[in-house]
Symmetry: C2
Subunit: 341 residues, 2 copies
């Protein structure tokens, strides 16, 4: 059974009664997002249903801009910027497009521009699949509501379901086998002073994909047993910190949660260690800032690049300690233009 | 209440009916030991009673040689090699000596020589307190049996209870509040081809003592909840690997267990990371040897220095990859002299 056998009935339910004929073009932007409480472990691999809920912050203007149009001939053309996308990624996109293809010989042309500093080793699959889902909605004129769009995006990449929204987003794990209750929703909160810094310390390709790393960890790490309970507590703490705008609490929770996620990988068998010597050096520099009394915290996804969390008043100190940092203002700021989505 | 209030009744029980008058001098050697399944977390801090059992390998000729004698005046003199021991360590030794001091104005002279490459950042408290316990037994002529000596050593430093023995040693956690069932015993097994390599990659002092790191992890790490069950399975696996002389199984179990221990620290709040950039580099080099099909595994204690586990036929490859490695043959070998204890 292929993943699409499981995904197709979900898509058919979402699109029941919606138009099936494409217009000339669809376009959309979706922001990248960084989880403050991580998604780590699936309960259903075909539907990308998570073991736990998660909570993220979208990156405003940083993300993916996608145009999708009928190719006018069989077979898909998948471009990343001006170039054909890597074969593996293109195949994943085509399998996803199979779910909404009007006819077997109908080809799509998909063109994605990532407004993300690629040197920061930044995963673009979340914003990419969110933008693709939104662009398809535009192309076909489905006019799906946000939960449905979030579910559609999730079928492409789990964390894409959070990139359908701006700001703070909580992805509720849900409990239904078909995942109809597993989607993102925007939290009613803004935090204009919030800043993130991407640290482009490692440019080489990841040795192990996060997809594989997640599965390996769930299957072999004896510490994974304690992960769901950790997430439950961290979610509660992160929600409370956002509600009360308690930055040290939000930062410490995000850092603790990211470290716990990496810890579950370190305990996998054989161990999975994404950290490089440069990761450790950056981590120590961040901890040194904290020892100086600065509220600077870090988070890390399944890769070697830490990201920093802080408030605007620490931006100069962060820039001094990390000259290569790309600083992002998720809720807008001097260097940010208005989010598109 | 001081720790000695809890320790004293235990010592009194152990020494009931034994001589109280010292002879001219006592002397003993005890090997250092490296845990293959780690001791990480105390259920009683004063008695050094562990949450779980653990399993170690003693390092043959590497360890501590201790002489203890009446000082002939009040106050203790504690020497490490030719020099006075650091004040903190000397105070810890004096508090321990209080437990067996014949009279308040009786001073001891303790002289310890560590036959351990100190550049490898090697903890000497295990062999040091084991040698001290054995030397005191010699000084007073107590003639305690091995379990009693192991308990006596444990009161100085938890893992010292394993350094009373050569070879593979299992420290049974026990369940009694007074710890009379918590001591080491030698496993009936030898493994002449077994080798360990100490990697002197970091010479600076540890920023956080393992004592403090252990407590911080137990108190704050959400993943510690899964540690006791992890140890239970690893102990079973290590015992079986030793019984069947299955080196890849022993190595993988030891590496997995050490990584899980560090993972519990990484998930502590705030995180506790002993790894340095050099640790990661050494780890990657060891994994690279494994990718070449070589059965080389690593273990790590609460510090930045990995140790390698392998069999004699891999010694040349290990030397080539780690020119600074200090290779140890726990059961004797070309470069090892007969263990003393």
């Amino acid at each position: 059974m292929s993943p699409n056998d499981t995904r197709r009935p979900v898509v058919d339910t979402l699109l029941a009664g919606r138009p099936r004929a494409p217009r000339a073009e669809g376009a959309a932007f979706a922001p990248a997002n960084i989880a403050l409480v991580k998604y780590w472990g699936k309960r259903d691999a075909a539907l990308n249903l998570p073991v736990t809920s998660s909570l993220s912050i979208s990156l405003g203007e940083l993300g993916s801009e996608t145009r999708v149009a009928p190719a006018g001939r069989p077979g898909d053309t998948v471009l990343l910027g001006p170039d054909p996308a890597p074969a593996g990624f293109a195949a994943r996109v085509s399998a996803y497009l199979d779910l909404v293809r009007p006819a077997p010989d109908f080809g799509f042309r998909v063109e994605t521009h990532n407004r993300v500093p690629t040197a920061a080793g930044f995963a673009s699959s979340a914003s990419g699949f969110a933008a693709l889902a939104l662009a398809l909605d535009d192309l076909f004129g489905w006019a799906l509501d946000l939960p449905a769009l979030s579910i559609l995006a999730r079928l492409g990449s789990g964390s894409a379901c959070r990139s359908v929204f701006d700001g703070f987003v909580e992805w509720t794990a849900g409990s239904r086998p078909d995942g109809m209750d597993s989607h993102g929703r925007r939290l009613d909160a803004t935090w204009p002073a919030l800043r993130l810094a991407l640290l482009p310390i490692e440019t080489s390709a990841k040795p192990v994909s996060s997809r594989h790393g997640m599965r390996h960890t769930v299957e072999t790490s004896p510490l994974y047993a304690a992960w769901p309970e950790t997430v439950a507590r961290d979610l509660e703490s992160a929600r409370a910190a956002i509600a009360t705008r308690d930055f040290p609490r939000l930062g410490a929770t995000a850092e603790g949660n990211a470290m716990a996620m990496h810890a579950t990988m370190h305990a996998a068998r054989p161990p999975l260690v994404y950290w490089t010597p440069a990761t450790i050096a950056a981590m120590r520099r961040a901890h040194a800032l904290r020892d100086e009394g600065r509220a600077v915290y870090l988070t890390m996804d399944a890769g070697p690049n830490p990201k920093l969390l802080f408030e605007a008043d620490q931006a100069d100190a962060v820039r001094a300690a990390f000259p290569n940092a790309v600083i992002v203002a998720p809720f807008g700021g001097p260097s940010a233009r208005k989010p598109v989505a």
